[in-house]
C-alpha cells in the first residue's frame, strides 16, 4: 500500500479507537492446525499465459483469478436424510482494462489455449464497452504482494467423515422430537473450502484458502389449528469443524424445540409503539441491511441503481463527517481481519491487504466501503488514498466488484448485558433470532421479524408473544437507540447469501453486535385472515 501521511494518521487513529473497543469472540478457536497451501504450479503457468495474452492485445491492466471451490452439504428431516452432496468447481476469470473500460471473461477450459481465448475475449469486451463510456476507470495504487493465507482451523470440515455429520444432525433431530407437539425438524450443514489464486499485471501473486461452515436447525410444532416454527440462530463462521462441535446441537435441540411448542400458546401481540430490545441474534441482520448496505459506495454513486438500489447515505459530499447516523454511543466498524468472521481474508480480489476502519464514529458517518476504482470518487472528501479492500467475486466465473466486509456495532463502555437492559425497561418487546426481513431500495423503511418474542413489563419478562414484526426508518431507528450492551454481551451473526450485482452474486459476511434498546418503535401484528 502506498499511502499519504494524512491517510496514515487517519487510519491509525481510527484503528486505535476500534481496537480499544474491539471485543473478542465468545468462541476462541485453538491455534491453527492446518497450514496454508501455496499456488499450484499449473495455475501459475495458466495465469501467466492469460496475462501475456491480455497485455499483448492491448490491456493496460489485467488480473487473473483461478478458483477451486469444494462444497459439501448434508440435509436431514426428522429421522432421515434428505440429501448428501459434494461439488467441485474449477476455472479461471480474466479481467482487463483497455482505454479505461473493463472486460471480463471466464472459462472452465483449463488449458493454455483455453485461458488465452478467455483473455482475448475479455480484451474484446473491454474494447466493445468503449461505445458507451463517459468515465474512465482509474485504479488507486496498491503495492504488489506475494504470499499465501488460510483461514485458521483446527480441523478442516471437509475432512470430517459424512457419517459423523449425519449422526450429529440426527441426534439433534431426535432430541427435538421428544418435545410434545413438535412434529417436524430439519437440520443441515453447508461446508466450503475455496482455494483462490490472484495474479495481476502489476506483480501481485497471492493464494488464499478460505474455510467456512454453516449449520442450520429448524423445528415446527403443530396443534389442530395452528403451526409455529422456531429456527435456531446458528451463525455461519469462517472456522473449522471445532466450531460446529462447540454449538452442541444434540444438547440444545430439546430447548429449541420447546420454544416452538411454547409459541403455539403465546399471546398474539397488540400492535403499537413499544421500547424494543434486540438481542444480537436479531440485531446483526438489521445492521447488515440498514448500515452495511447503506454505506456501500457503489450504491451511493448509482452503480447498483437498477438492482439492489441506491442509498440514503448520498451524495458523499453531503454525508461524510456530517450525517448523524445515531447517538454518540454508536460506533460501527468495518473489518476484514476479525477472527472467525465470514469475510476475513488477507487480501481482496484486487490484492489489497485486509483493512479495518470506522464507518460510524460516535454516531457520525465517517467513511464508505471501497474498491480500487472507487477511491478517486471520494479521495478529496476523506483524505483516504487506499482502497479499503472490498473487491470480491463469488466464484472464478463472476467479476469482482464492491462487496461488504464484516460490519459490526462496537460494545458500549459499561459492560452490561440483555438482563440489565430488560431490568431498565418498563414497557417493551424483546426479540431473539432473525425472522422475515425486508428494506427499501434506499435503505430507509425496513420491517423485520424474529423467532421468539417476549413481553417486558416493569423490568421483567412477563410472557411470550407471537405474530410480531417491527417497522421503522433507518435514521429514526438508530437515533432512538439509548442503551447498548458491553464487551461480554458481544456476539457475531452472519450469512452466506448476501446478494448484490447483476448477474447477482452471493457474499459471505459476518456482523458482530451487542444487545440494544430502541425507544418507541412501531410493532405490527402480522397475523391476517382476510
Amino acid at each position: 500500500m502506498i499511502s499519504s501521511r494524512r491517510d496514515f494518521i487517519k487510519t491509525t487513529a481510527a484503528t486505535a479507537a476500534a481496537l480499544a473497543a474491539g471485543p473478542g469472540l465468545r468462541f476462541e478457536p485453538a491455534a491453527q492446525a492446518v497450514t496454508a497451501p501455496g499456488a499450484d504450479p499449473l495455475v501459475l503457468e495458466l495465469a501467466a499465459e492469460a496475462l501475456d495474452a491480455a497485455r499483448s492485445t492491448g490491456a493496460s491492466y489485467a488480473d487473473v483469478r483461478v478458483g477451486r471451490y469444494r462444497r459439501q452439504s448434508v440435509g436431514t428431516r426428522e429421522r432421515q436424510i434428505t440429501g448428501v452432496s459434494d461439488s467441485e468447481s474449477y476455472g479461471i476469470g480474466v479481467r482487463t482494462l483497455v482505454n479505461g473500460c473493463w472486460g471480463f471473461a471466464a472459462t472452465s477450459v483449463m488449458s493454455r489455449p483455453g485461458v488465452r481465448q478467455a483473455a482475448l475475449e475479455a480484451v474484446s469486451l473491454s474494447k466493445a464497452a468503449r461505445a458507451v463510456q463517459k468515465r474512465r476507470v482509474e485504479l488507486a495504487p496498491v503495492m504488489p504482494v506475494a504470499g499465501t493465507w488460510m483461514t485458521p482451523v483446527r480441523r478442516d470440515p471437509l475432512d470430517v467423515p459424512i457419517d459423523d455429520m449425519v449422526a450429529l444432525l440426527l441426534a439433534a433431530n431426535e432430541a427435538a422430537l421428544k418435545v410434545k407437539n413438535v412434529r417436524f425438524v430439519s437440520s443441515g450443514l453447508a461446508l466450503l473450502r475455496e482455494v483462490k489464486t490472484l495474479v495481476t499485471s502489476e506483480g501481485t501473486s497471492v493464494t488464499q484458502t478460505m474455510i467456512r461452515v454453516g449449520p442450520s436447525f429448524s423445528c415446527t410444532a403443530t396443534s389442530g389449528s395452528d403451526f409455529q416454527t422456531y429456527e435456531a440462530e446458528l451463525a455461519p463462521r469462517g472456522l473449522g469443524w471445532e466450531y460446529v462441535e462447540s454449538l452442541d446441537l444434540p444438547g440444545n435441540a430439546e430447548r429449541w424445540a420447546s420454544i416452538a411448542a411454547e409459541k403455539l400458546t403465546a399471546k398474539s401481540v397488540e400492535a403499537g409503539q413499544y421500547d424494543l430490545i434486540l438481542e444480537p441474534t436479531n440485531l446483526w441482520l438489521t445492521i447488515h441491511e440498514s448500515i452495511g448496505h447503506a454505506t456501500e459506495l457503489d450504491r451511493a454513486i448509482g452503480d447498483e441503481a437498477n438492482y439492489a438500489g441506491t442509498s440514503f447515505v448520498a451524495p458523499p459530499e453531503k454525508m461524510l463527517g456530517q450525517l448523524r447516523y445515531g447517538p454518540a454511543i454508536m460506533n460501527v466498524q468495518a473489518d476484514r481481519t476479525q477472527e472467525g468472521s465470514l469475510s476475513r481474508v488477507a487480501w481482496d480480489d484486487e490484492g489489497v491487504p485486509a483493512d479495518r476502519w470506522l464507518l460510524v464514529e460516535r454516531g457520525i458517518f465517517r467513511d464508505y466501503q471501497t474498491t480500487r476504482e472507487q477511491v478517486a470518487r471520494i479521495r478529496k472528501l476523506t483524505g483516504v488514498t487506499r482502497s479499503h479492500g472490498c473487491s470480491f467475486a463469488e466464484s472464478w466465473n463472476a467479476v469482482q466488484f464492491q462487496r461488504m466486509p464484516n460490519v459490526s456495532l462496537l460494545p458500549g463502555a459499561a459492560d452490561i448485558g440483555v438482563a440489565d437492559i430488560v431490568a431498565d425497561t418498563s414497557r417493551g418487546v424483546l426479540i431473539r433470532n432473525r425472522g422475515s426481513w425486508s428494506i427499501d431500495h434506499q435503505r430507509y423503511n425496513f420491517q423485520f421479524s424474529g423467532q421468539a418474542f417476549y413481553e417486558v413489563r416493569n423490568g421483567k419478562i412477563v410472557g411470550m408473544l407471537k405474530d410480531v414484526a417491527y417497522q421503522s426508518s433507518t435514521p429514526v431507528f438508530w437515533n432512538s437507540m439509548d442503551l447498548i450492551g458491553g464487551r461480554s454481551s458481544y456476539w457475531m451473526g452472519g450469512a452466506f447469501n448476501d446478494g448484490k450485482g447483476e448477474p447477482s452474486q452471493s457474499n459471505s459476511v459476518s456482523h458482530g453486535c451487542v444487545p440494544a434498546r430502541f425507544r418507541n418503535v412501531t410493532i405490527l401484528n402480522t397475523a391476517r385472515s382476510a
Binding site: 461439488s87 475479455a122 437498477n306 438492482y307 434506499q442 420491517q447 414484526a469
Partner: protein, 475 residues
C-alpha cells in the same frame, strides 16, 4: 398524465451478423453441448459407475452480459461452464457429487466420491428408484438471436436505450440511467442407468433499465424478457424507464391504509410465483400450509380464489416454452393448479404422489407459470378505477406467515394515484403486507396476460383493499 405502455419489439435487424454460439467456433469455452455430445458424455459417466442405480445430470451454459450506469458500461462479461452431477444409489442409500472438470480422471473421481458418500449415508425410507425411458414433449425454447448476442451488439443496444432515455428524460433535465442486459444459452441433459435420456436447450434474454431524475425525486424502471432477443425492444425500454422517472417526480404522501391497487404485469410477476411456491402437496397434507384443510387433508376441490382466475404451468405453451422434464428426468406436462378459482392440483414429488395415490407433477414452476382470466389492457384497468394506487413493480419481498402466504415488500420506481380513471399524481413509495392468495379473493378485474419474462405470462390486476402499511422515503 399518460401511462407509459409496454414497448413493442424493435425491427429485428438488431440480430448479430455472426452466429458464434450456434456454430463450433464459440468465442469462449466449449460450445453448448449438443444432444449427441450430452448422450456420449452421460454414457461415459454411467459406464464408470458400479452402483445399483446411477443418474447423471449435465448443465452446459453460456452467458453474456453488459451492465451500465451513469452513461458508461461498468462491467461486461462472458462466461462458459459445464457442470455434471452424479447421483449414485446403493440399496436405499443415495448421494451426489458434481464437478465441472470433465476429463476421464476427474469424472471417475466424481463417481467414486458419490459412491463413497452414498455408502456412508443412512438408508432413505423415501428413496424412489431412478426412472427408465420416458417420452417428452418437444419444446423449441432455443433462439439463435439470443445465443449469439455478442458484446458489440449488446453495447449497441445499451447505447440505443441510453439515448432514448436521455431524450425522454429531457423534461427533468440530465437524467441518470443504469441497467443490465443479459443473454443466456443453456443445455440440460439427464440420463439414468435404467435407460432414461432427456435433453433440452433454451435461451433467455433480459434487459432492464432504471432512470433517475437529477433532482433525486423521480425514479422509473422498465424491463423486457423473452427467450428471443429480437422480441426485446431496448430503445422502448429505455424510453419507458425515463418516462416513468419524469412522471414520478415530486411524489406526495397519502396516508397508508387499504387502497384499490392496479398492479402492472411486472408487479404481478413479482407476487404470483410466491403463491406457486406454496403449492407443495406434502406441506398441505402435513397441516403446515395455506392449502391444508383444517382437521387434515388438502383443500383440493375447494374454491380458493376469485372464480375468474386460472393458474397453470405448461412447458409446451408457446408463451412459456418451459423445460419439459425435471431434475430426475420426470416428464413435466400441463398442470392446472387453479381452475376458475378452484384448487385443482398441488405439486407432488414422486415419493409423496406414490404415498397419496396421485400423479407426480414435478416442481410447481418447472413448466413456466401463467395466470389468465382477463382480456383488458392495463390502461382499461386504470380507466375503470375511481380511486386507487398504480404500482410499477415491487422490491424486497419476504414471507411473513406461511399460514396465509402473507408477504411484505415495497413499491418501487413509480407509484401513482388514480382518480376518476386517470393517473393524477406521483405518490411516495409504500411498504405493504399482503398475501397473493388473499388478494386474489379481492379481485376487481384481470388484464390481458403478457409475457413479462421467459416462462412468465402475467396480466395486470385491479385489487380491492390492498394493504399498504407504511410510507417509505425511498425514491
Amino acid at each position: 398524465m399518460r401511462h407509459p405502455s409496454t414497448p413493442a419489439p424493435e425491427n429485428p435487424r438488431t440480430q448479430a451478423p455472426e452466429n458464434p454460439r450456434t456454430r463450433d467456433a464459440s468465442s469462449i469455452g466449449a460450445p453448448l453441448l449438443s444432444r449427441d455430445d450430452a448422450r456420449a458424455l452421460t454414457a461415459r459417466v454411467l459406464a464408470f459407475s458400479a452402483a445399483d442405480q446411477t443418474r447423471v445430470t449435465v448443465q452446459s451454459r453460456w452467458s453474456g452480459n453488459t451492465r451500465f450506469a451513469d452513461g458508461s458500461i461498468t462491467t461486461s462479461g462472458g462466461t462458459a461452464d459445464t457442470t455434471l452431477t452424479v447421483w449414485v444409489t446403493f440399496g436405499r442409500r443415495r448421494a451426489s457429487s458434481s464437478t465441472n472438470v470433465l476429463d476421464d480422471a476427474s469424472l471417475k473421481r466424481t463417481v467414486d466420491l458419490a459412491s463413497r458418500l452414498a455408502r456412508l449415508a443412512p438408508e432413505d425410507p423415501e428413496l424412489m428408484p431412478e426412472l427408465g425411458p420416458q417420452t417428452y414433449t418437444t419444446v423449441d425454447a432455443f433462439v439463435a438471436a439470443t445465443a449469439d448476442l455478442d458484446a458489440e451488439t449488446r453495447a449497441a443496444a445499451v447505447e440505443r436505450a441510453v439515448r432514448a432515455a436521455t431524450e425522454a428524460g429531457k423534461p427533468a433535465g440530465a437524467i441518470f440511467t443504469a441497467g443490465f442486459l443479459e443473454a443466456n444459452a443453456v443445455a440440460v441433459a439427464v440420463a439414468t442407468s435404467n435407460g432414461l435420456f432427456a435433453y433440452h436447450r433454451s435461451t433467455e434474454a433480459d434487459f432492464s433499465v432504471t432512470s433517475r431524475t437529477p433532482d433525486g425525486t423521480g425514479s422509473g424502471w422498465a424491463h423486457g424478457g423473452s427467450r428471443d432477443w429480437d422480441a426485446v425492444n431496448a430503445a422502448g425500454i429505455g424510453r419507458m424507464a425515463a418516462q416513468k422517472a419524469v412522471a414520478s417526480r415530486n411524489p406526495q404522501a397519502i396516508a397508508p391504509g387499504l387502497y384499490t391497487a392496479v398492479l402492472e404485469p411486472q408487479a404481478v410477476t413479482d407476487l404470483i410465483p410466491l403463491l406457486a411456491g406454496a403449492l407443495n402437496a406434502r406441506n398441505a397434507d402435513e397441516g403446515r400450509s395455506a392449502f391444508s384443510k383444517p382437521g387434515g387433508g388438502t383443500r383440493i376441490g375447494e374454491r380458493v380464489v376469485d372464480e375468474r382466475v386460472t393458474l397453470y404451468s405448461d412447458p409446451a405453451d408457446p408463451a412459456l416454452r418451459g423445460q419439459p422434464f425435471d431434475a430426475e428426468g420426470l416428464p413435466v406436462g400441463r398442470v392446472v393448479w387453479i381452475e376458475k378459482g378452484i384448487l385443482r392440483n398441488l405439486a407432488y414429488s414422486r415419493f409423496w404422489a406414490q404415498k397419496q395415490g396421485k400423479q407426480p407433477t414435478g416442481p410447481p414452476q418447472a413448466g413456466g407459470l401463467a395466470l389468465t382470466g382477463g382480456t383488458k389492457s392495463t390502461e382499461q384497468l386504470i380507466a375503470d378505477c375511481a380511486r386507487g394506487v398504480l404500482v410499477t413493480h415491487f422490491f424486497y419481498i419476504r414471507a411473513l406467515d406461511q399460514r396465509t402466504v402473507l408477504q411484505t415488500g415495497l413499491t418501487r420506481d413509480g407509484a401513482f394515484l388514480i382518480e376518476e380513471g386517470r393517473v393524477t399524481r406521483a405518490l411516495k413509495n409504500f411498504r405493504w403486507n399482503e398475501s397473493p392468495l388473499l388478494m386474489l379473493n379481492r379481485l376487481e378485474d384481470i388484464g390481458r396476460p403478457e409475457q413479462t419474462a421467459a416462462g412468465r405470462l402475467m396480466p395486470a390486476l385491479r385489487v380491492r383493499d390492498f394493504n399498504f402499511t407504511s410510507l417509505s422515503d425511498a425514491v
